[in-house]
């Protein structure tokens, strides 16, 4: 064995591989952990995340399930109550609505309904987001809905480190945790440490420091915000970019600290605008940061339509870098 003390070289991988490595680590470390979901075994996962895991860990731990989200999510809850640490994969958040009863009425409430006797240490992973021309039944971003529910945590890893690290922290949590993986991010490549550090799942992070405006986003939108910030910097506008990382619980402190400095905030969210997580964030800024604001909070969200299939329409429906730049300039200068 060659595990000398020397600094491990960073490894190059995709977001998909980072999630897979996280799964492998969990499966290796804790034999109570198992993965189940539609096509996770023989097919290797609808998005190829669990490719090779069936061969490596066997069919007891990588389980293909019938096409019945309610059933296998409920089975996951039962297994968690029975002492296991199940990871349930739901192909996309649109399909998770079939399991919404299990998630809300059972997983999120069981600790309460049992008078504090039974935690549900369940992790559910799901794909989310649009931009791949999968049309209106496979492309929505409903993570904001789940962030409405007390009793669960809602994680939205955007970076490779978080994709790699959040799963284990989630498994250690005694209560249900939902992890949303934006399917556009699976092909994102980069370097991460070969020995990744554990990550927390309850704090937002400032991904880029700035003084003029706070761009608040998460998941795939984070990179649109970062791209916009780069362009704005060339024009002398320094945007601070915050990655929420976790939609429930929201890290108000990081947001408000940033706004106390910049006095302007834009929320970029792939979800629909009405009744959304962006609305919740805007309300909190109003409640707790009103006197720091110099202009009204703005939101850049998905158009309020079922996600179109046609590429140009789908792109028009999603938040875009150009819109972020235009919005920020208007806020900073007072005119378009």
């Amino acid at each position: 064995m060659n595990t000398s003390i020397q600094e491990a070289q960073p490894i190059h991988l995709t977001y998909r591989e980072a999630v897979r490595e996280a799964l492998r680590e969990a499966l290796r470390k804790d034999d109570r952990v198992f993965l189940m979901g539609e096509d996770v075994g023989r097919y290797g996962g609808a998005f190829g995340v669990s490719k090779g895991l069936l061969q490596e860990f066997g069919s007891d731990r990588i389980m293909d399930t019938p096409l019945c989200e309610s059933g296998f999510t409920g089975a996951g809850i039962g297994a968690a109550l029975g002492g296991m640490r199940p990871i349930v994969e739901v192909m996309t958040v649109n399909f998770s609505l079939l399991a919404a009863d299990q998630i809300l009425n059972t997983a999120a409430t069981y600790l309460h309904m049992s008078g504090g006797l039974f935690n549900v240490p369940l992790v559910i992973r799901m794909g989310t987001g649009g931009g791949k021309q999968l049309a209106a039944q496979h492309s929505h971003s409903l993570e904001g809905w789940y962030a409405h529910i007390p009793g669960i945590k809602v994680l939205t890893p955007a970076t490779l480190e978080d994709a790699r690290g959040m799963l284990w922290t989630a498994l250690e949590d005694p209560d249900p945790v939902l992890i949303f993986e934006n399917t556009l991010l699976y092909t994102m490549e980069g370097d991460i440490s070969a020995n990744p550090e554990p990550v927390d799942i309850d704090r937002a992070k400032v991904r880029r420091a700035g003084t003029d405006v706070t761009l608040i986003s998460y998941s795939a939108s984070l990179f649109k915000a970062l791209d916009a910030a780069e362009t704005l910097a060339q024009e002398g506008i320094e945007a601070e970019v915050i990655d929420l990382r976790t939609l429930r619980p929201l890290d108000d402190e990081t947001l408000l600290t940033s706004i106390a400095k910049t006095h302007r905030a834009v929320i970029i969210d792939e979800g629909w605008r009405s009744g959304s997580i962006s609305a919740e964030i805007s309300a909190r800024i109003m409640e707790k940061g009103f006197y720091d604001l110099d202009v009204p909070v703005e939101r850049i969200c998905a158009a309020e339509v079922p996600m179109p299939y046609a590429n140009h329409l789908e792109q028009a429906a999603l938040p875009q870098v150009a819109t972020i730049i235009q919005t920020v300039k208007r806020m900073v200068t007072g005119h378009d």
Partner: protein, 415 residues
Amino acid sequence: MTDFCMPSLGADMKTGTLVKWHVKPGDRLKRGDIIADVETDKGIMEIEVFEDCVIDELLLKPETEVPVGTVMAKIHSEVAKKVTEAKVPIKETAKEKHLIESTKPPVKTTVTSTPVTTDGKRLRVSPIARKLAAELGVDLTQIKGTGAEGAIQERDVRQAAALADKVEEPAIERPVEKPLETPAAPAKLPSSAEFQAGMRRAIAAAMSRSNREIPHYYLETQIDMSHPLKWLEMENQKRSIKDRILPVVLLIKATAKALTEIPELNGYWIDDRLQVEESIHIGFAISLRQGGLVTPAIHHADTKSLDELMAAMRDLIERTRGGRLRSSELMDATITLTSLGDIGVEKVFGVIYPPQVALVGFGKITEQPWAERGMLDVRSVMTATLAGDHRATDGIIGARFLQALNTQLQTPEQL
């Protein structure tokens, strides 16, 4: 239980030093009783309680200097629990300092609203700009916003403040009042250079704020004092020398009664609107021997008789020079009156003491030729001036006031 806090004894007071407690835990106090002596830039003040209450705990040691709003003692009311907040502007923490500065007598809760321009349009001001303007003393109605639809934003306020700093003139010093009556009371105030510098700073802060924020208008009128002086002379013949009434008392009473007719000049400009006060408490400018001046209030001047007013003024002058003023006397004035006639000044153009909205000035009474009904006569004439806050009132109100003042003075027997 309620907090008894360091009161603000004037818009410019930021801290106070506890000199001594007049009470101990368990003591029962009536409204108006003295709870403690507090030293400020203006001298040592006796602090009163404003409701009947019982002292539970004293939290401050003498010789401690604390910011306005700091809890000094725990008390409870035996009646209800709305104890001292009724009158003393407390509770505010440093966080809300701007509130203290603009809310001198906080008796009523006022709904603050965005400033309105002269043509009645609601100004669009961002929250941070509004906060900053209050901190920097910037008048939002004088700023042109550069934000969307003309909204005033942080940068506009900063720019205006920077500009104001550049052109700021040296603070106009309020003319110092000469003693009207000098009961021989030894000045007990500490007369160290430090104390005087403190008072100078306090005056400078209040007057700079006045000059920066208040768009003053000035009106003057000549008042024939022949009849009132003659009447007073006859009145005084009925009194022993020590009880005689000074002419200035007529002026105080006439001012107070004129204000009952023109109440718009009696009150405060707070939160961008005029708040007319029902009670008339005339702040009377009194100079201190070691320099500087204070303007303690003569409470309810409109309802006091001339003899009561004379006694009140005598007492006030004595205690002012002795440094024994009460907190309410420093906080309550609803208008200021300054008389410089005794040292030969003919007209007084006053600087309003914020957040008040008017200052009445009286000059020397001189014999002058006076033409009336085609005849020339020699009369005792005095110039009365009014400095008004143009945000709160217009010249016509001021003119009506001076007219009412004259009418009051011409019927001294009704004063």
